[in-house]
């Protein structure tokens, strides 16, 4: 990890710009060419050197993940550090999905009653298809049922034909 010199935001090693404030985090070739100090000195600036072995950030607080129902622009927040099932609620159903997609034409789109679940384990968020009738796609690629796939911000999940976008807060 490296920290931004102007706002202290943490970025992965190798980042060129701060995603928070937009500040440049590396020197450019031109700056190297025109300055007289040697580049070994630059290496000592803590900002520019990614220190090896930094512990990973602690697991994040509640509700940092949400899904955007594409087409309706409706956002559903998912809270807790837990497993959340998505599906479609119908009368007389014994197991009710945590997130009911039926307001979004889930039936027409071929969403199963228990279609998939999203599992939040610390920083890792995964999707698992629960053996649904019409399957789940991750960015257009069909995933195997009962197998976990890591998802990240901006990913598109398709349940049957219902598309949602994953939103994850940093």
């Amino acid at each position: 990890m490296i920290s931004c010199p102007s706002c202290n935001h943490k970025e992965l090693a190798g980042a060129l710009f701060c995603s928070n404030c937009g500040a440049q985090l590396v020197i450019s070739e031109e700056q190297v060419a025109t300055s007289s100090f040697n580049t070994d000195d630059i290496g000592r600036l803590s900002v520019l050197v990614p220190p090896p072995f930094v512990p990973p950030p602690l697991s994040a607080p509640d509700s940092r993940i949400a899904i955007l129902i594409l087409g309706s622009e409706k956002v559903i927040h998912i809270s807790g550090n837990d497993e959340v099932t998505l599906g479609r609620f119908t009368k007389g159903q014994t197991i009710i999905p945590d997130i009911d997609l039926s307001p979004f034409q889930a039936y027409e789109a071929g969403v199963s009653r228990l279609h998939a679940n999203i599992d939040i384990k610390g920083s890792e968020i995964t999707i698992k298809d629960l053996g649904s009738a019409n399957g789940t796609r991750l960015n257009g690629i069909r995933i195997q049922p009962h197998q976990e796939y890591q998802i990240k911000h901006g990913d598109i999940l398709t349940f049957g034909r219902l598309k949602v976008q994953v939103l994850i807060k940093e």
Binding site: L12, A13, A15, C21, V26, P52, Q105, K163
Partner: protein, 493 residues
Amino acid sequence: MTTSADYYDRLGIKPDASDEDIRKAYREAARRLHPDINVEAGATELFIELKEAYDVLSDPEKRSVYDGDSPEIQPPPVQTSIHYSRKSVSWLAEEQLVYALINLDVLSDQLEVKDEATPPINIALVLDCSTSMQGARLDVVKASAIELIRELRPQDFFSIISFNDRADVVLPAAYYANDRKSESRIHRLQAKGGTEIFQGLNAGMTEVQRNLSPYYINHIILITDGHTYGDEANCQELAEKAGQREIGISCLGIGTDWNDIFLDNISTSTGGSCFYIHDPRDINNLLKEKFNGLGQVYVDGISLNLQTGSGVLLNYAYRLLPEANVIPISSSLKLGNISKGSHLSILLEFILSPISPSVLKALLAEGSFTFSVPKLGKSTYRIPVTLSPATSADTKAQPPPKKILEAMSRLTLYRMQEQARVELEFGDYENAANRLQNMATHLFSTGENELAKTVLIEAQNIQNQKVFSKEGRKRIKYGTQALSSPTDKKKVE
């Protein structure tokens, strides 16, 4: 060969088709043409031709003999180049980011005379004629459509579809060069009803498919000013189908009431782009520019098919040239087309898991570019791409190549507004407003005062009213998107 059409053409497939593709194409065509069900004159002959083609192509041995007889395929004059954000990737016990800038250029000086002429276009113009288009918007659209017809070349296919709750084919796909009669049909268009984009797109797709050919530039241009209702998923499905068939879709959104995320998705799934039109008077220029551009296309249907290395994640993909926009991440990145003298330039962001010193080269991804050259015919060309920078113990910051730094400095602004939008969705108003203020500072420092002011106004809106105005949101998104392209956008005319 005894007949004119070659075996691949008869089955409607490409020379690199897999055995499975061949079988599928045959079954599909046989169902249509089988003499038992098709009594139309000539159908039997067609079926015999089909059978002949299938017999050869389905047998690997016969197929390779047949392929050997085909004229040799000359590699097209294109060249790729790759730059990385670091000369060497560090041995690091934590995750790191690596950027790759990939260019695909047409070497114009190597083009032969026969390549100079541009391929015919096959374009469907899909016009929203719902009530909201009434007045200046529809007037400008009509006038522009008529101008486009007047500029058509004799070899160009063109069609116009108007839609509201349903679609009407105003001009079916045909040649319209010097056809003044068609103009009156455009004059008669009237605005009424709602907006169902799928109706329009579907009819547009039908018209383009009538003359679908690898020798043409096949494209749909959608002009709309409103939200579509309930058919987004159908539209997306159609767009993906269009992408597979190398039919590009470009979208022009007028005013503030259309769904930019939706139209962006539709167009980028095909390698096309979406444009924001603030003032209806800009429609004419933009449409002409788009049309002329398509008429000049040399390389079409470009995809970059990449398989990432183990422990590597392709986190973000962005096209800088010829048109700037985010590329939806999939195993096959759809990149659209390039004209002679223009370039394709994309920036990829990879996240690498920790790298130990035993690794000499970091495999980010490998795969290939595939594309077609309509002027040279139906072949699909393939250029292998391997993204594999060296590794070293050097963990110091290395100055990245100027090109990457410049591209990233512009792209950072675009990504900041994306991030602000996400924060807003989560109700994180303070961070969203702060981020926009930071953006404005950068924009002022680079002389983009107009855009900077818009950003500041929105930052205030968010602080006071907790909303992003529809207009500001689009202006900022498409403003920073336009800035992210390396060449300054100087409008034609």
